[in-house]
């Protein structure tokens, strides 16, 4: 098992390097020059000379050869230095430090909500197949997968925010500062963000459970005189959960991606919104920092999924 983990870890690091290198190159290949963009903002304050532009370039290390810039940046990670934001005058680390907890908060809540509702719903639809509960829940799940989450957000804002006035329509407060406000603000965004995966895991759990229920060992369990609840919970779910774990792994990039849209709709200062703003203003350093973070989270979660397989399915453990 240990060799398995170590091997996966090495692969993960390699993938991470590849990913960040890719983004790095893309950012450098972008047409447009961030220095000029930045400078043109200051057009009315002063005229910049060619020397000053060159000096700015050197300051941000943009005059070095590409590969060197990357290596320098990569080395900086270990010192906690991710560079400076060209536009905001702060370090990337600061910006990310501010935005990351927000997105984590939103993301984790969405992730939990999606599974707490999705998995039991899937089990119910499988066990009560063909009956009322199944048809309703499955239809809801089918619809849930299709709705564009930014649009659902807007609908909810209109309904619960503007029309009924029950919930605040945007913004974010730290739960440590004002827990009640924080929760209120998070209800709608978290729901929207959890929707695709909630629906997805309902469908996947249903498939997995239907497959499991047909298995011979379920028939054996029935023949032993166990009650339905035991057969379902102890025998069926244990086996059916395996594909759901893979799905859980796929939820992480989905949630992170969805966060980009949701944070824009609800005006939440998280990584998603940071990334969008940075992309539009070609703020290299921020984009790289954000992608590093997101890629790291995703790669880590894939690693965890792989490891958890070994734990859940004893057949894999003993390979």
């Amino acid at each position: 098992m240990t060799t398995y983990i170590v091997r996966r870890l090495i692969q993960a690091i390699f993938v991470l390097v590849l990913a960040t290198l890719g983004v790095f190159l893309i950012m450098r290949l972008l047409p447009g020059d961030p220095i000029l963009l930045y400078v043109s903002q200051d057009e009315f304050t002063r005229m910049t000379s060619a020397e000053e532009i060159a000096a700015l370039r050197a300051q941000f290390g943009l005059d070095q050869p590409l590969l060197l810039q990357y290596v320098y940046w990569f080395g900086g990670i270990f010192r906690g230095d991710l560079g400076e934001s060209i536009f905001m005058g702060t370090t990337v680390a600061e910006e990310i430090g501010r935005a990351l907890p927000v997105t984590l908060h939103l993301g984790v809540i969405s992730f939990i909500v999606a599974h707490i509702i999705g998995i039991p719903a899937g089990v119910i639809t499988a066990v009560r197949r063909g009956r009322w509960a199944d048809t309703t829940l499955t239809t809801l799940a089918n619809i849930g997968i299709c709705a564009p989450i930014f649009w659902v957000g807007i609908l909810l804002i209109y309904g619960f925010g503007l029309y009924l006035g029950w919930l605040p329509i945007q913004g974010y407060t730290s739960p440590f500062k004002d827990f009640w406000m924080s929760t209120q603000q998070l209800v709608m965004p978290a729901f929207c963000l959890s929707l695709p995966h909630m629906a997805g895991s309902t469908r996947q759990t249903r498939s997995a459970m239907l497959e499991v229920i047909r298995q011979d060992y379920i028939r054996t369990a029935w023949s032993k005189g166990l009650r339905e609840r035991t057969v379902v919970m102890r025998h069926a779910v244990r086996n059916g959960i395996i594909p759901v774990v893979t799905l859980g792994g796929m939820a992480v990039p989905r949630v992170l991606g969805g966060a980009v849209l949701i944070e824009v709709v609800f005006n939440i200062p998280g990584m998603g919104r940071l990334a969008v703003d940075a992309l539009f203003s070609q703020d290299y350093a921020i984009v790289q920092g954000v992608t590093l973070m997101m890629a790291a989270v995703i790669v880590l979660s894939n690693l965890l999924v792989d490891i958890s397989y070994g734990w859940i399915d004893p057949r894999i453990r003993y390979q």
């Binding site: 564009p148 807007i154 992608t291 997101m294």
Partner: protein
Amino acid sequence: MSESRETVIQEFIEAPPRVSAWKRFITVFFGRRIVIFGMIILIGLMITAIFANWLAPYDPYLQDLDNVKASPSTEHLLGTDTLGRDTLSRIIYGSRTSLIVGFVAIFFAATVGMTLGLVAGYFGGWTYSVIMRVIDALMAFPMILLALTIAALLGGGLRNIVIALGISMIPPYARLMCGQALHIKENDYVVAAHAIGAGNWRVMLRHIAPNAFPPLIVLMTMMIGAAILAEAGLSFLGIGIDPPGAAWGAMVSEGYRYLLTVPVLSFAPGIAIMLVVFAFNMVGDGLRDALDPRLRGTL
């Protein structure tokens, strides 16, 4: 018994009639009402996109500045936007954007992805490792973010959106094809092909690829919905076809500002998106059930 006894016995002995594969496909595919429903919507969508010129009541680019932000009325069934353009017409024309982006991006992703996967799975070894690591790197990003980054690099416009989306959707195809190739190449007929001297490319294209198709076709149908949603997300964020072109996501974004006064500007395009994605997903489900129900758990 009025029938001759011989006939009775004869019929009795004969094995039950075998249903042709095509007939079975049709029966299973059209077996569920919801799939038929989805199919109807899709056909409606195609008709709308192709015949948009005739179906739209107004020119979607026609501005009527005396009549901005109008609520739905008999003249403008879904109202008008900030420049007085008829919302319904814009939605009808928007179907073209969604469909084109959806189909072309998927086609691109599938072609590139399947080639990569085929090569990786077939040759194995270093080829496999390198290609799979690149795919993993692509997968380390949320799809939207990747598409956003690439689109920011290339600029706006239909072609670039398609490329950006296409690239971000390569991984599932590559992985599926790779898995299939790994599995199929163990089969005896592949060994036999090698034995008679078939070259690598021939084996790959004529033996492995055709047998790998069924799950891939299902994947394509399922992902069209995802592509359309992603395109809507991108145009919502502001990266999409250049204005004045009509794109559903962008329309939602524009309408967001006027939510209180003219909510239909945001609501209507979203419903269109949802309907279309729903239709594709249902048809995809039906296709999967008809082609190979064993895939039910995986796709």
